[in-house]
Structure formats: C-alpha cells, structure tokens
Amino acid sequence: MRTVMKTFLTLALCLALAAPALAETIKIGGLIDLSGPTSAVGRPYAEGLRAAAEYINAHGGVSGRQIEFLLQDTAYNPQQGLALYKKFATVDKVVAVQGFGTAVTEALVRFVAQDEIPNFSASYSAHLTDAAKAPYNFVIAADYSTQARAALKYFKDNWKESRAPRLALLYPNAPYGLAPIPAIKAYAKELGFELVGEENVDLKAIDATTQLLALKGKNPDYTWIGGTTPSTAVIMKDAKKLGMKTTFFVDIWGADESLVQLAGDAAEGAVSLQAAAVYGQDVPGMKAILEQTKNQPQMTHFIRGFASMMVMVEGMRQTLAKGPLTGKTLKETLETLRDYDPQGLTPKISFLPGDHRPNMSVFLYKIQNGKLTFLSAQTLERKAEWLGL
C-alpha cells in the first residue's frame, strides 16, 4: 500500500512540476483573411507568420519558450473577427494577436485596448498608428499615407526638368483607397507637384478607359494607383492600350508579384511601394526564409508576415529578459524598441509611447522584366503633425 501511495505521490509531483513546464508555450492568436475578398494577399501573409513561428520554435523559441500560433480565418468580416477574437481573449488567453485586414482590425481597436492584448496587423491606416486612439495596435510597415509621401519625395528628388512634375491620382471610392488621398494632395503641393487630375477606379473594375482618357490629355508624369492587384492590372493594361506615358506608382497591396502575371508587359516600369524585401533579395534575413520555404518563391506579403512575427517575438524576448510576459508588459517593451533591424527584411523599426509609426520608410521597387527590382529605400522625417493622418 505504501509503495502505491508513494508512486501516486511521485506521479502527482511529477505532473505538478511538468504542468507549468508544458504551459510555458506563448500563445499568439492569428486573425487573418484566409477567405473572402482579401484572401489572395491574406494567405501568403498568414503563411509568412506561420513560417516565422516554426522557424523561431525550431531555433530555440522565445527565450526557451515555444510559440503556439493559433491561426483563424476572419473572411474580412468584422462579426466573425470579433467572435474569434473573444475566443482568443477569454478561452485561449493569448498574449498577443497577429491581425490582418482593416475591417476586423478597426472593429477590435477598443477591445484590444481594454483587454491589453497587442494587435499586430497588416492594416496600415494612418489613424491606427496614433497610440492615443489605438494604444494596443502595432504595425511593422509605414502607413499608407507615409508610404505615398515617401514615394513623392523620391520622385521629386530625382526630378531633372525645370517645370513642376505633373501628378494624377487614381483610387477606388472605398475607405482603403480614400485614406491616403488628403495626405498625398497636401504633400504634393508642399513639394511643388502640379496635381492635374484625379479619377475613381473601382476595386472590381473591369475597364478603366473612361477614367484614363480623361487623364491622358493632361499628360501626368506620375500617376498614383491606389487599389488591389486586379484593379491595378486593369488600369495598366488600359493605359498601355491608350498609349499613356506616365510612371505609375502603386500602393503596397496594388503591385506585388501577382501584378506581373495579371498585367504582363503593361506593368513594366511601374513603381511598387513596399515595406518588406522581395523573395531572394540580398539581405541577411533572407537566409532564414530560404531555409524555411525550401527555396519555393513567396510573395513579399509572406516576407512581411515573417517580419511581423519577428518584431513581435523580439518584443517578447526583451520583455522576458525584464520580467513576466503579459500583453501589457509586451506593449510597454515594444514602446522602448529603437531601430530594431529585422535583418534587413523591413526598414528599421521603432515604436514610441504615443506614436506607433514603425518607421517613416518605404522600399521602392521597379517592375523590370517581370520582376520587382529594388530601386531605393526612402526615409522621411518623423513629423509629429503627420501622426495619424
């Protein structure tokens, strides 16, 4: 009887000791659009997050603790995102969330702040970087407005002629397309661009000749395209048909590797604004990605997802070095992050208390021979008056 008791006690002790050791995983929720209108970019992003989690786990985890990445599909639907988030917050008790689309991210702004769960999302609306309004929201790419401003600066700096460069704007009449427009207009004016026209092209457009004909006569040197790859492809193909000579510059979701397949030759010479390296680019962090993907090329969104997880994990690592890891301590640590370099995968990242703009930089890529070719990295000054606009 004694031995039985002893065995039981030992077993119980073992279990009691083992339980916390097993519970040492760090839970991270994933709320990504794996289906729905934005799934074409949501999936590679989610794959990037997952690959990073696997890579980090295989290389010693976060200060010895493993990551448990719980990926769920939100289908760009705030209702669904909200229900899933509540499950993460209350049942799974995640430390932080990796989010994605604007609709879901915005619906969660207040909840993540109340629950103190940092949300790293891929919704680069400027107002989400204002920590006074969204204290627990983080992004690892400069917001849409900043990206567009940086591109304008680059064009202006490389402008050789004596006349003012002419600028035209094409964007969808949707929240995502309208967000950076006031910023572009104001900064273009400040830099001395001449705004010659603006037109709306719907995200689901199948024809843009009407809008382009209106712009063609005005001979814009640069044309901003806000949209997603399908609408961008329509614009570029129609512009080629009409023989328009302009340099298109396209936002982060509008010109990626799939644009080349959709638009073919018509995309040649266009400038893509990105916030992460492209697959195979010569940066130190690419080694991990090549290793993790077994040399299967991935989209730049994959790499941005990978980097987003790296930044989050770096925050966790620094937090654990100081004390316990909770959503609150993670947020506080992240706000002390200065010039963290995710091995060249994105521009250097800093978060300040009250100002969650990760940086003021954009990577410019030119589409040449069907490939995104690195052109330049443009950085702007961190102006206080641009925060959230």
Binding site: L34, D73, A75, P78, Q80, V91, R110, F111, P175
Partner: protein, 348 residues
C-alpha cells in the same frame, strides 16, 4: 384533473393571444429564465456569439416586417442599419445619453427608410429591389464622404453604452441590454402584426389591388412599413456600433443587406419566429464551420485551408438547399415538428 382537448376560444382577444396554452407559456418562461442565466452558464466566447445573435435578430425581424410581411423587397437594409449606427454614434459622441441616442439613430434610419421607400408606390418586385440597392449605394457614399460628421474612411470610435450611469462595458452587461432590445423588437413586430396595420401589410403583400379596393391606403402603409422596418434596423445598427465601439462604412455594405435577406429566407418569410431562427442559424454557421475545421485539422493538418475556401460555397449552398427543400424556412419546419409531437404517438 381533466385538461381541455384542443383549444377553443370564446373571444377574439383570446384567439389573438401569443401563447395560448399553459404549456407554451411554461416553456417560454423557462427559455427566458435560461437566457437570463446565460452569462452564468456559458463562457465568454459563447456569450459574445449570443450578443451578435441578439443584434442579428433585430436586423432580421425588421427586414422580415418589410419584406416578409409587407412584400417590399429591400436591398438597402445594411445601409439603414448604418444610418442608425452613425446617428446613434454621432449623438453619443456629442453627449446625448445612450437610450436617447439609440432612438435618435432609429429615427434617422426611419427617415432614410421612408425617403428611399417613396419609389415603392410605383415600383414593384425586382424594380423596387434595384431602387433600394441604389439607396444602399448612395448611403454608403454618404458615410464615406461626409467626413466631417461620419469620420470618413477612419470611422468613429465610441465608448461602451452607459445607461443612467451604468456602463455596459462587459459582454455580460451588454448581453442583458441586447437581450432586452431584441425582445422588445420582437414584441413590437409581433404586436404590430396583430393590429389593423399588420393586416393591411399582409393585404398589400398578397395583392396590392385587392388591398386598395378594401380601403388600404397603399402609399401610407408602404411608407409605414419602410419607416418601422428602418427604425428597427437603425436600432440594430446603433447597438452594433456601441457593442464594437466602432463605426466604419465597411460594416454596413451590401453584404450586410444580403445577409439580412438570407436570414429571413432561411428562417421563414413573414414569420417573427422565423427571423429568430434565421438570425441564429446564419450567425452560428461560420462558427460551426470554424469548429469543424478546427476539429478536423487535428487529424488532417491541411484540411483547414481547404475548408476555409469552401466556406463561401457552403453559405451559398445552404441558401440554395433551403430554397429548394424548405422554401418556407425553418419556422415551417418548427411547425411540423410541433404538430408531430402534439399528436405523438397517435399521429393520424
């Protein structure tokens, strides 16, 4: 003790009662008790799903009044919810107490509903559907471009609703608020159906000419249907906005309108109970699919991606299957089930 065999009435009032037998009233009482105790019984996740269901119930029952009962198809219901959401949000941001703001949002939506309901006098069927689709698009445009009051593409951030100093800042508190609102909405619609006005709505749906000959003022009643329906939709929108503490134009797009329509088709056109069934069913469908995907992915790690891609297909398939096999909706099925058990085991 001898019970009555079947039901018989000696007054019209008795016949018009909602719940005619003691058994029904007992069941309802138990169900209400269960709902009231729900925050203690279910976890926070299920509670948030219940909250979303409550809001969906209000949206569905309001559209059912307009489309199911009065026969006026509306594809602008999502936008009417949006008007209510923005109306209520703008009011609370300016310091108006929440209950008043909610009613103001409803009133704004009601006004919008009546304005866009005016064409219903001349337009019927598919033409009216297109006219209300225009309402959807126009209102969405207004949400997006009236940046001064709606916050444009950035939307508006709100605080949790506060009623007489009591803040509904947890899911449980919110649940009681939403439950009361949903129950009130159901009562309002169910009661409306028992009145002269409700019968006028049904007459219009069944045949407008007969209704007019019988003395129903078509224009007034159609407008009234639009007004009441949009009011309730506006209340649903206001509640949704304050529940998520955020309003943006994207939340009230055409997909919201379609999902309301799908709810009443699946639940049962013209039935108050059907609206509830439809709202519950469509809210739980994605959650159920997620659960299935999650369970299966334990054995087949790659299946969740496949299932996710199937989800929209499943939604469409459900709708088609309902239209073919259960055109009268879940409410009809419920009736059949009840009839079966009423006579069990002596079905004849």
């Amino acid at each position: 003790m001898h019970g009555k065999c079947g039901l018989f009435f000696s007054s019209y009032a008795a016949e018009a009662r909602f719940f005619q037998s003691g058994f029904q009233r007992t069941c309802l009482g138990l169900f209400v008790l269960l709902l009231v105790a729900a925050p203690l019984l279910v976890g926070p996740y299920l509670l948030s799903v219940l909250n979303i269901i409550c809001i969906a119930v209000i949206g569905a029952v309001s559209l059912n009044l307009l489309t199911g009962v009065c026969g006026q198809i509306s594809l602008g219901h999502g936008a009417f919810m949006g008007v209510g959401a923005y109306g209520a949000a703008i009011c609370t941001l300016r310091g108006v107490p929440f209950p008043l703001a909610l009613l103001a949002g409803g009133a704004a939506a009601s006004l919008a509903g009546m304005v866009f309901g005016v064409p219903s006098l001349r337009l019927k069927g598919i033409y009216l559907a297109i006219a209300t689709l225009a309402a959807q698009l126009i209102l969405e445009y207004v949400f997006l471009h009236a940046g001064g009051i709606t916050g444009g593409s950035n939307g508006l951030l709100l605080d949790p609703p506060t009623i007489f100093g009591f803040s509904c800042n947890t899911d449980a508190r919110m649940f009681y608020l939403l439950l009361v609102c949903a129950a009130l909405s159901l009562l309002v619609v169910a009661n409306l159906l028992r009145t002269r006005h409700g019968r006028a709505f049904v007459a219009i749906r069944d045949f407008h000419l007969s209704a007019e000959i019988a003395g129903v003022n078509l224009f007034a009643y159609k407008l009234m249907a639009f007004g009441v329906s949009a009011f309730l939709a506006g209340v649903a929108g206001g509640l949704w906005a304050h529940y998520t503490q955020f309003v943006s134009p994207e939340q009230f797009g055409i997909s919201q309108s379609i999902s309301c329509l799908a709810m009443i088709i699946i639940g049962g056109l013209g039935s108050v109970l059907g609206s509830v069934f439809g709202a519950v069913f469509l809210t739980l469908l994605p959650e159920g699919l997620n659960l299935v995907a999650g369970t299966l992915s334990a054995w087949f790690p790659d299946i969740s991606a496949q299932l996710v891609a199937l989800r929209e297909g499943v939604f469409g398939l459900t709708l088609v299957l309902f239209l073919i096999f259960e055109p009268e909706g879940l409410a009809h099925r419920w009736k059949l089930v009840r009839a079966y058990w009423k006579l069990y085991p002596f079905a004849h």
